[in-house]
Subunit: 85 residues, 2 copies
Amino acid sequence: MLKARIFVELKPSVLDPQGKAVTNSLNTLGYNQVADTRISKYIEILFSEGSEDEVNRQVEEICNKLLANPNTEHYHYTIEQAEYS
Amino acid sequence: MLKARIFVELKPSVLDPQGKAVTNSLNTLGYNQVADTRISKYIEILFSEGSEDEVNRQVEEICNKLLANPNTEHYHYTIEQAEYS
């Protein structure tokens, strides 16, 4: 089985209001050294079969079609062997 | 500057309805090899100062107090040097 570990992140130029809110909360709580926070999605997809090349092609499609908004987000991923019972 | 890279994930025993929905969507779209999907939060926090020990202690507190729900989620993180301009 192969597992894709996918990160979907806001582009650096796009404001992250949720991250900004966390930074403000943390500063208010006394964590004054917190300068910036970025909140992203981390997605693991488990594939029951398929070669690494095929899974790679499918993950690329899946990110473009479903997981990432190309206007505001970019993504990167790795594919690795997974042992699931 | 130090950067904390934090993963907040649902515990394996907790149902992930959002992940389930993505698995179903992908199967419907023809990606029949997709067996399971888990969706988590990935958070980067940038610290303007502080030793690695101090940042480590603060990240532990921040995860417990603000980022993770201890009933349903667990977290893990790494801390690394960051070069931000």
